[in-house]
């Protein structure tokens, strides 16, 4: 009987959906160690990202419904770990298969819907009367997941805004204040977008006598702010939003709801790498062309799934250069918010490197072999 070496087995398993991998933990103790190993989890995650697979589309109304992007006919209800108080929950961010969610009373949790594990975060209490936004992403330096809350405290007329920025991480599990965003003039209108190790918001800054859109990035590793250069727009009369697609930061320029241009920053931080992927006109869609948000690439990479007006979805074909399909699936729940969540094995267990005695021999064997091929390259 031909026996495959462990690295072949790891390659094969990295292609499987999470559900099957959780079942295959029962195959043997070595397989359980492999599937639970953080390096294998990264391998699996990288494979999903590269091949545009294992993507879940989540539709939210008062409940959450999920379907595999490759198979949009079957929506299943998702049970989330927070009390919903008949108000439903909000998704604050989605990163590497983890969702950060909050309910109406500001209970917070980081949750992996694929492994059905979650961690409750300490509550900051409700900030009555204050405006705030969140952002959720991954710090590659400490391999930690961070929730950021920006609270607008007030405005002194004519001058910059007074705000407070706080961070809570999965590992540290407590809130702490970090430096504020320097000199902002208007408050971000939406939760932050995570790409390339940083959270991004669109703000306005006073530039001489006018106000200009600025994309501000908060680097989750250094917790410093920087400005991200924008594309050379021909016409600047638009509303700007940011998004993320295939790991690249996107700028969505909405020209009075008549036309929307989607730009992607192919090489993060490099202004010249901004590429206009396509334009969509209002006559191409049914309803109003508002709040266009890119969601995901299709498996082939030729099509992009987009959401607009908060409830409508369509596919845009990059090769054919046009919108191809409205997503209208029988039985598809109406939603007021859409999110893409990867199916990953990413663990919420911050002590995951601890094993009990009898597994140590297998762990050593696997650590040795995995350290050759699969250590995450930062």
């Amino acid at each position: 009987m031909a026996n495959l070496p462990l690295d072949s087995i790891a390659d094969i398993l990295s292609r499987l959906p999470v559900r099957h991998l959780l079942r295959f933990r029962c195959v043997s103790k070595l397989w359980r160690s492999l599937i639970d190993d953080p390096d294998f989890i990264q391998l699996h995650l990288r494979h999903s990202l590269k091949s545009h697979t294992n993507q879940t589309l989540i539709l939210k109304n008062s409940e959450l419904h999920a379907a595999n992007l490759a198979c949009l006919g079957l929506f299943a209800k998702l049970e989330h770990p927070l009390m919903s108080y008949h108000q439903g929950i909000k998704i604050l961010g989605s990163c590497n298969g983890l969702l950060c969610i909050r309910n109406i009373v500001e209970d917070l949790a980081i949750w992996n819907p694929s492994t059905r594990k979650h961690q409750i975060l300490p509550s900051l209490g409700s900030c009555n009367g204050y405006v705030y936004v969140y952002g959720f992403g991954h710090d590659p330096i400490t391999d930690d997941y961070k929730l950021v809350k920006i609270i607008q405290l007030g405005r002194v007329d004519g001058k910059a805004l007074d705000s407070e920025v706080k961070v809570c991480s999965l590992k540290r599990n407590r809130w702490r204040r970090i430096q504020d965003i320097p000199c902002i003039f208007s408050f971000p209108g939406a939760n932050g977008v995570f790409a390339n190790g940083a959270l991004h918001w669109v703000l306005t800054q006073k530039v001489q006598l006018s106000e200009e859109n600025v994309i501000v990035a908060l680097d989750l590793g250094s917790e410093n702010y920087r400005e991200v250069p924008q594309p050379e727009y021909k016409d600047k009369r638009f509303q700007l939003n940011v998004g993320v697609l295939g790991g690249c930061l996107c700028a969505i320029a909405n020209y009075g709801d008549v036309q929307v241009d989607l730009w992607a920053m192919k090489e993060y931080g490099v202004k010249e790498s901004w590429t206009r992927l396509f334009s969509v006109a209002s006559e191409d869609v049914i309803g109003f062309l508002r709040f266009v948000k890119p969601l995901a690439y299709s498996r082939s990479g030729d099509q992009i799934l987009l959401e607009y007006d908060n409830i409508n979805l369509f596919w845009y074909d990059l090769k054919k250069k046009k919108k191809v399909n409205d997503v209208r699936v029988p039985g598809m729940p109406l939603s007021d918010e859409t999110e893409i969540c990867l199916q990953s094995l990413v663990s919420l267990d911050v002590n995951r490197r601890q094993h009990n005695g009898e597994d140590n021999k297998d762990i050593k064997k696997m650590d040795d072999f995995l350290s050759e091929g699969f250590k995450l390259v930062l």
Partner: protein, 170 residues
């Protein structure tokens, strides 16, 4: 091999049972290990190349795979040719039983043939995806080292993952 007759250079590959296969150079260069060997020994084209860990059965299938894919690539890169190539791969894999599939993976790994290995690994993933834990143990020849209590505990950690699994009928 005289210069006059060598219109297309031929290379001889020898399987582990000493059976020899003569192939065009272009085909031999699809084999990563062979290509590396010639880069290090550019003059050694006369002798048969011994492929110690590859059976005749695997080698002949792999040679056919290379011939077909070279022909596909020579045509063009249109999506219809891509579809034909994919259909070829599906047929090739369909004809392999579990044992042969594993042997092919070992051979593709030894021969350093990335695309073939990728395709075969994906084929195994598709084959085992919805199968039971027992099926997977039999497929890979793995012995269960859990005690019944331990296995029940691990299973209970993700009981929901056991729903809707294909019944074991093979």
């Amino acid at each position: 091999m005289s210069a006059a007759t060598a219109k297309t250079k031929k290379i001889v590959l020898r399987a582990d049972d000493n059976h020899e296969f003569e192939v065009d150079e272009a085909i031999a260069m699809e084999f990563g290990t062979v290509r590396t060997f010639f880069e290090d020994n550019p003059d050694a084209t006369e002798e048969p190349i011994p492929l110690l860990n590859v059976s005749s059965k695997c080698l002949s299938t792999i040679i056919e795979y290379c011939k077909s894919h070279l022909a596909f690539r020579a045509r063009d890169s249109s999506s219809s040719v891509e579809d034909e190539a994919k259909a070829y791969d599906v047929e090739l894999v369909k004809a392999l039983d579990n044992e042969s599939l594993k042997e092919m993976i070992l051979a593709a790994n030894y021969l350093n043939m990335k695309d073939l290995l990728d395709m075969l690994n994906q084929a195994v993933a598709d084959r085992i995806k919805n199968k039971s834990v027992e099926y997977v143990r039999r497929f890979f020849g793995i012995e269960n080292d859990y005690s019944p209590e331990e296995e029940a505990e691990v299973r209970a950690q993700n009981e929901w993952a056991f729903e809707g699994v294909d019944p074991d009928d093979d």
